[in-house]
């Protein structure tokens, strides 16, 4: 058995990212979609921190801080939108918003 090495975390990060992506593609429930986005953001964060470690730099950490800020803002606005949509359409299904088609 080998010792723990940072690159292993990169693989985890990729897997989580892809799961998030899959959720984003497959789920129609906007709440779950937003959660999937959170998953992807987290995966990227992990990637940043890992690279930071591997490169002997702290920039990754800083970036993660910013990403977290953005993520917080994003989920606040996103959930606001979901509420607004639910008000109008009584649903949180993304297939209901297709106004741009045709």
């Amino acid at each position: 058995m080998t010792a723990f090495e940072p690159w292993m975390l990169l693989v985890v990060s990729v897997l989580v990212f892809c799961v998030g992506l899959l959720g984003l593609i497959l789920r129609k429930n906007l709440l779950v979609m937003l959660m999937s986005i959170e998953l992807m953001l987290n995966a990227v964060n992990l990637c940043f921190v890992t690279f930071s470690k591997m490169h002997h730099l702290l920039d990754g950490h800083l970036t993660v801080l910013f990403v977290m800020t953005v993520a917080a803002a994003e989920s606040a606005v996103g959930l606001g939108l979901v509420i607004a949509m639910f008000r109008n359409l009584r649903s949180v299904d993304s297939d209901q918003i297709q106004l741009l088609r045709d």
Partner: protein
């Protein structure tokens, strides 16, 4: 003096043109006598300038006046330069002299017409352009005049533009002239290519390689056939008679149509370089003279007879040029200008007297009613027949003589011209008899109301009559190099022959038409040339245009439609993918991303970066 000569008509044109335009807008009419007086004075002043210029002309040289630099491009530099020598001096005198008389005549002739101001403007424009043509010292300048007179001719033929026929006649003239002009243009290009200049003085002296010389000559001659109504481009001239009669006299008899002869005479050193070209010119000239003389015998319209006669006489001139006797040709230009202008003005006087009647079979017996017209017309008739001592005798005799004896001449040219001369005598006598002798064949009231034209119309007739009578004694006005004589037939033999044929033709006509009770002959289009042309060329153009239209609509527009349809189709195909679900788009993005990444990874692996 030379500058003022061409500026006077220009000033007249501008004054009359702007004035009549302004008055047309405001609705007031320009008094015909005033605009006529302005135009006539301008021409008279030009004539005086031409006389003065002639007197200043050194005996064997030229006067040049540089006006301005017209254009330069690369090695080409064209100056606007006026050049007066013996040849152009003769032409300027004829143009301004005859022109003045015809302007004078027009004042009275057009006094009833509401567009008189415009008419005189056009007439002055014509004289300006014609002077440019003969005074121009470079080919583009000559071309300026060449096209300019064509424009004036177009405007004046279609002067009464409310009649479709007049307009079409003008258009026909313009377009046929354009065909000739194309020849002129290409001749200029050839001249420039081989002599490096467009200056007449340079091109005259240019020595062109054989085939080039021939093509140059033929192209120049093409231009001449257009402007001077020779075969194959002659059919416009009879139609051009749709214009007012003084116009026919000035433009379509005395001056413009002779510019082809001027051009050949001007370029005679180059023209002489191509024997085959000369042969074509002589042949075409002679055949034109013959054919149109035949046609003239079958016309009923007094102006049409004169028109075909003009074409025929021009044929004589070209035949003269073709055998190398440019001097004789120019001589005939001069005498022809006198007597043909006279004949046309006389015809105009007759038409005027009969209120527009042009059919010779509805005339007759006008001798006593129109004495001045009759006597002057007689002078013109005698001159065109070539009876001594009238002017036409000298020039025509010279042409016949040269046609026979010149090295480039030949028996058959002489023969054809001789037959043409017989026919000339025939149709002119026919016309003369039908108009002035016999019993009147028009309505009685018309005959009774017919009266001699007023003085402004009579005066030009008398003066031109005098010139037709005495003009020939001047002899060859310009001394262009004579062709070498190949035969030594004495001149007097030809003289006798030419007088004999004239008398012969006149006698035949007399036999037939002197009875006074001439029965109307139908006007026959003998050779149906016009009809054939309109079928072949008019139809050809229409067919080509329709074919082009077909290509345009089917092929080009079809292609456009195809491209449009393809765009539509591809749009519809892509539209299938636009399902409107953001998630589906995301999926497509992912797929695209994978493909792209794979592609780049492959590249990186190849280059060993991975």
């Amino acid at each position: 003096m030379i500058t003022s000569m061409i500026l006077f008509p220009l000033v007249g044109f501008v004054i009359n043109g702007l004035w009549s335009l302004g008055s047309a807008r405001s609705g007031r009419r320009v008094p015909p006598s005033v605009s006529g007086a302005i135009a006539t004075l301008a021409m008279a002043a030009a004539f005086v300038s031409a006389l003065v210029a002639r007197s200043q002309l050194p005996s064997d040289g030229a006067i040049e006046v540089e006006c301005f630099r017209w254009f330069t491009l690369g090695t080409l530099a064209v100056d606007f330069k006026l050049r007066l020598d013996a040849l152009s001096s003769l032409f300027t005198l004829v143009i301004t002299g005859v022109g003045t008389l015809i302007h004078l005549y027009s004042i009275s002739y057009m006094s009833e017409d509401e567009g008189a101001g415009k008419y005189f403007a056009y007439l002055n424009l014509f004289c300006f352009m014609m002077l440019n043509l003969v005074l121009g010292s470079t080919l583009p300048q000559v071309f300026l005049g060449w096209e300019g007179v064509g424009l004036a001719s177009y405007l004046l033929i279609g002067f009464w533009y409310r009649e479709e026929a007049n307009v079409s006649a003008g258009q026909k003239a313009f377009v046929m002239n354009r065909i000739g002009d194309l020849g002129f243009l290409i001749a200029m290009f050839i001249g420039f290519k081989y002599s490096g200049s467009l200056d007449l003085a340079v091109i005259e002296k240019a020595v062109l390689p054989g085939a080039v010389a021939t093509s140059f000559v033929l192209l120049v001659f093409l231009a001449c056939t257009g402007k001077s109504a020779q075969i194959p481009l002659f059919t416009w001239l009879p139609d051009a008679m749709a214009g007012p009669t003084p116009v026919s006299a000035l433009i379509h008899a005395a001056t413009m149509v002779t510019s082809g002869v001027y051009l050949l005479a001007r370029l005679s050193p180059v023209i002489s370089q191509s024997a085959s070209g000369m042969m074509v010119i002589a042949g075409v000239g002679a055949i034109t003279a013959l054919i149109t003389a035949v046609i003239a015998c079958f016309q009923r319209d007094i102006k049409k007879v004169l028109a075909y006669s003009t074409v025929s006489q021009l044929g004589f001139m070209f035949a003269a040029c073709g055998v190398g006797a440019f001097g004789a040709g120019v001589f005939h230009v001069m005498t022809h200008a006198f007597f043909k202008a006279l004949l046309f003005l006389g015809a105009g006087s007759v038409i005027h007297a009969l209120h527009g009647e042009q059919d010779v079979f509805k005339m007759g017996g006008l001798k006593s009613k129109l004495p001045v017209t009759f006597w002057t017309f007689t002078a013109g008739w005698a001159a065109i027949l070539g009876l001594p001592p009238f002017s036409g005798f000298f020039s025509k005799d010279e042409i016949l003589h040269q046609a026979l004896v010149s090295r480039s001449g030949s028996g058959w040219v002489f023969g054809i011209l001789l037959i043409a001369a017989v026919l000339t005598a025939f149709y002119m006598t026919r016309l003369y008899l039908l108009v002035f002798f016999g019993s009147p064949r028009m309505e009685k009231s018309k005959f009774d109301h017919a009266h001699e034209s007023p003085a402004p119309m009579a005066l030009p007739l008398v003066l031109l009559g005098a010139l037709s009578l005495a003009g020939g004694f001047a002899g060859e006005p310009v001394h262009l190099p004579h062709p070498e004589a190949a035969l030594s037939t004495p001149a007097w033999v030809i003289m006798i022959v030419s007088v004999v044929v004239a008398v012969l033709g006149a006698t035949i006509a007399y036999r037939r038409y002197a009875g006074g009770s001439a029965s109307a002959e139908p006007a026959t289009d003998v050779f149906r040339i016009d009809a054939i042309y309109s079928r072949v060329f008019g139809g050809g153009l229409r067919a080509t245009a329709s074919a082009t239209g077909w290509i345009e609509e089917r092929v080009v527009q079809g292609l456009i439609r195809m491209v449009a349809a393809l765009t539509d189709l591809s749009g519809n195909m892509i539209r299938v993918l636009q399902v409107g679900s953001a998630q589906a788009y995301l999926l497509m993005m992912v797929i695209a991303l994978v493909v792209m990444v794979l592609y780049f990874l492959k590249g990186m692996v190849q280059y060993g970066n991975l």
